[in-house]
Symmetry: C2
Subunit: 329 residues, 2 copies
């Protein structure tokens, strides 16, 4: 079973990534041939004016991966822009998708609205689902772990797969299945719907012990829970959202929630619990991260990218064969 996952390199990874995907990848690598793509080409589609954001993040991402337990002997970590076959495959796939189809993609539509491109939506951005189809099919992925907002991407890929195989009478491309992750999205420490690098409301895997503590103690709780004795709300309380995600002892957590609702449990107490939890989760990650030299990270990237180049080139050869672009030259 082959799995493809990845991240746009636009900053260090945070707890939202950890709970939403990294943790899952550490499990997945035990049973799957897992490819982890650092999607710098894709990140360029909406960061083309600030490429340093991307290029400065690539090795940081590799450090985050290794620190959380992704094992380069089990997972292939590679950099998208170094795999030229992906661009070429994208070109062939672009002929199989209509302009109205890409403009109708719900994920892309939502992102366009969110990013405020105004009237100047880059062609590259609208086309990134086609480029994703190249990424997925190049490695013959069987599954792609996704949130349900990403399902239209999988659909687009499979449409291309079916059309390509039909037109060129081949079966060299493989349909892919989404592996839905049921983890709810981690909110920002300010209670914003999404923890994000750009929103500066996230706890990063590489944050110092001090930074973690500061962030936890600045978390949004229940504005009406003023005195310790006041009854408090658990829903929409960021501290409890994080405890739900990271506190291991679910029985104790239920007791805490009950007590908080009733009154008599202070914010400082629950924040201390969360701080302890996150410190003991992140300390080993941070320590492992600190041991990784830039040279070692480059070496991991190099090896993974070399393997990915080989695999993607083989698929590209099959694609060219199917279209007939062999001239014996």
């Amino acid at each position: 079973m082959i799995a493809l996952t990845g991240d746009r390199p636009t900053g260090r990874l945070h707890l939202g990534h950890y709970i939403g995907s990294l943790k899952n990848r550490v499990v997945l690598q035990e049973t799957c041939d897992q490819y982890i793509m650092i999607a710098d080409l894709q990140a360029l589609t909406d960061h083309f004016e600030s490429p340093r954001t991307i290029t400065d993040s690539v090795l940081e991402l590799v450090a985050d991966y290794l620190a959380v337990g992704i094992d380069p002997m089990k997972s292939t970590i590679f950099v998208q822009s170094q795999i030229s076959a992906l661009s070429e495959m994208t070109m062939y796939f672009m002929n199989l998708v209509s302009i109205s189809r890409v403009e109708r993609n719900p994920t892309v539509k939502a992102e366009i609205a969110q990013k405020g491109f105004n009237d100047s939506i880059p062609v590259g951005f609208v086309c990134y689902p086609i480029s994703q189809a190249a990424d997925i099919t190049a490695f013959k992925a069987d599954i792609v772990p996704v949130g349900d907002d990403q399902l239209p991407m999988i659909e687009q890929t499979n449409e291309i797969v079916r059309k390509f195989n039909r037109i060129y009478s081949t079966n060299c491309l493989k349909e892919v299945k989404p592996r839905l992750s049921h983890v709810s999205r981690l909110v920002g420490i300010d209670g914003q719907a999404k923890a994000g690098k750009s929103l500066n409301n996230a706890i990063f895997l590489s944050d110092t012990s001090e930074a973690i503590k500061t962030k936890v103690f600045s978390m949004f709780t229940d504005p009406n829970h003023i005195r310790v004795s006041d009854p408090g709300k658990v829903e929409g309380n960021v501290v409890f959202s994080y405890l739900d995600a990271f506190f291991e002892d679910k029985d104790e957590l239920e007791d805490l929630k009950k007590q908080y609702r009733k009154g008599g449990l202070g914010d400082t107490t629950i924040k201390s619990k969360l701080n302890d939890t996150l410190q003991s989760l992140l300390q080993p990650i941070r320590e492992k991260r600190a041991q990784l030299s830039r040279d070692f990270l480059r070496e991991i990237c190099h090896e993974g990218t070399k393997k990915a180049q080989r695999v993607a080139s083989d698929t590209l050869e099959e694609i060219r064969d199917a279209i007939g672009l062999k001239y014996g030259i």
Copy 2:
């Protein structure tokens, strides 16, 4: 001075190509470093469902080139799909052009209307001017010979060049100048505005002597010029259009026109003149063509493509450097 020209490989070349561009290329190669691209990738954007049309035409095109006098020692003949740097450059350029900009391109708009894509306009087709910008800039072309319907393509390329150089603080891309050809378009033998492979109304460079004669004698003249003694019209008369393009003795041609207008000059006579003219133009081309083995044509393609790969890869390296996509991996 570097020049880039090329053709979509969708069939053998005809007299329209000869007079509109091939003849000019034979001259251009004496003073320019000339690249001639067989644009199979571009042809796929509107022939993706019939790739054989394209792949069967590639070596035919090379044969046509050599037969008319293009010298592979002076011109670099290469196959677009074999230059992967072009796809990668296209990906970077796609971020710099908005969807509304590509949809506004007058050449593309006209072609869309003409091709009857209906509502299903392939992304690849709309984007081919971006891919052309990659072709032109990859070889650092100073000039591109074009008809005036192609000027919007040059404009799009130069917009990309300026934007790329500005955003990435580089001067690795070069603006290009159109070299306008003032040859009027050759009409079809049936009087249709355009001689075209698909319209089956063209005289091909590889046509047999017999086929040429048949086509010349089936040409549309003046429907009111019934008897030899009738006065005839020269304007809109296909035979005279071809004589204008190919008959060398301009004084004699003026006399013929005068006589035809007055009456007393039969269609058979002018068709014979034209037939003689075309036979003596095309006979050496056809004979040279017949001597070219498939292996030799492949060898020419191979050598040219190898050189083009080197040049385009160098430009791609500069582009990656400028964006910063070097990770030391």
